[in-house]
Structures are given as C-alpha cells and as structure tokens.
Symmetry: C2
Subunit: 104 residues, 2 copies
DNA sequence: TCATTAATTACCTCTTACGTTAATTAACAT
DNA sequence: ATGTTAATTAACGTAAGAGGTAATTAATGA
C-alpha cells in the first residue's frame, strides 16, 4: 500500500483526478472509454500507470481492452486521514469515524 | 478558493503534508517551529508559499515571526470530495454527509 | 546605531513530470 | 495471412518542482 503523499500527488493532476472521478461515478471503464480528446492516448496511458502505481486504480485485462476501476481502500485512506484530525473539527465529525469503519 | 487538484498537489509532497499534519495536531505554529532539520529555511519558506497559494494554510504576522494555521475549509473540501462518491461505498457512509454539513 | 533573529527573495542546478509523434505489441476478425 | 483495433513503449523536448547557497528585508534588543 502506497503512502498518502503518493496518493495525493497522483490526484494532484486535473486529468488524473477526472479519470478517478469518472470511475467513481460510472464504475469500471476501459482506457478507450476514459480517453480525453484534449490529450493523446500515450499520455493517458502514462496517467493510468501513475494511478496504478499509486494504488488508486486496478487494471483488468479483457482482450485488447484494459478495464480500470478504483480501489476502495485508496479513497477510504483519504477519508480516514481527514478523520484522524477530527478534533480539529471540534468533535462535530465524530460520527464519521464509525461510518468509515463500517465501510471496511 | 482553489481547485481540488491544486489542494491534492500541495499535499502530494511529504514535507508539506508533514507541515499540515503538525498544524492540524498542534494548532498554530511559527515557520521556525515547523522547521525540519533535513531541509533549509528557504526551502521550507517555499513550501509554506505553496500551501498558502493552495488555500490550505493562512499566515499571520507577529513581529518577525510568521504564524501558520490550517484553513478548515481546505480539509473539509477533501472530506466532501470523498463523500460525493459515497454511492461507491454502497451507501454505508451516508451519515458522513450530515456530519460534514454540521461542521460548516 | 549596530548586531541578532526570522524569514524571504534571487539565482542557480538537477530531476521529474507531462506532452508530442513514431514505433511496437497483442488480440480480433475476415 | 492480413488488416484493424486497443493500448503501450520508445525517444525526445520543454516546463515545473525541489533543493542548495548567498544576499536581502524587516523587526528586536543591547
């Protein structure tokens, strides 16, 4: 499991964040379906690699297609990081803790 | 208010994430108090600038000292991003939504 | 005033990130 | 076999990120 800075760094790029958001909203999608027309396929391919290596997405092979989906643990790790500092929120978010635990 | 990719990018560096975590845990601290000995003051200063420009911290001036603290909205924005995709968690995190709203 | 403390800005170096086009690999379909 | 589709790897250029030393600004204190 990669470090949190690595996760944040991977999401710190608008193209990659958009990929992850589409996968979260629509579920598993192929590289082709995720292709943005403002960028070339090789560039997209490298973004997928960054996301894979950061442990944010997993790749599944189906013939020539590469199907991607988000790893729940990655998003959950971010949620838990926020919750780790819930004292900062003056205790108003205590229920988040239980909720995140349930999702495990 | 900066974009989410900018926020993630700012936290995507181990030194800056450590700064933010100390501020969250200990509250307002001066640049000097946050100084890591593995890095020079100028380098730290530039990290503070990145965090300021990303809207993650605010600077307060006290004589020669610069006092930093975390902007709650920034951490909250991350929490809300996670929650925006709560359907992904099979509805088990619905309560997070209410909790984050309370913290506003 | 002059030295000290706190932090930043200027300048330079090196590495990584991100994009492109061209070439390649792999699986299908005819 | 051959062409087509899907995606990646190779090779290359440019820009941004992160670090250092030296110089500078600003406030304090003797």
């Amino acid at each position: 499991m990669p470090q949190l800075p690595t996760t944040f760094a991977a999401l710190g790029n608008a193209t990659r964040l958009a990929i992850v958001e589409r996968l979260l909203a629509e579920g598993e999608l192929s590289a082709g379906a995720l292709q943005a027309d403002s960028i070339t396929p090789p560039a997209m391919s490298r973004h997928f690699k960054v996301l894979r290596e950061a442990g944010i997405v997993v790749q599944r092979v189906d013939a020539q297609r590469r199907l991607y989906s988000v790893k729940p643990e990655a998003v959950q790790a971010i949620g838990e990081w926020v919750l780790n500092f819930r004292e900062f929120w003056a205790g108003s978010l205590d229920r988040l803790d239980a909720a995140l635990k349930e999702a495990e």
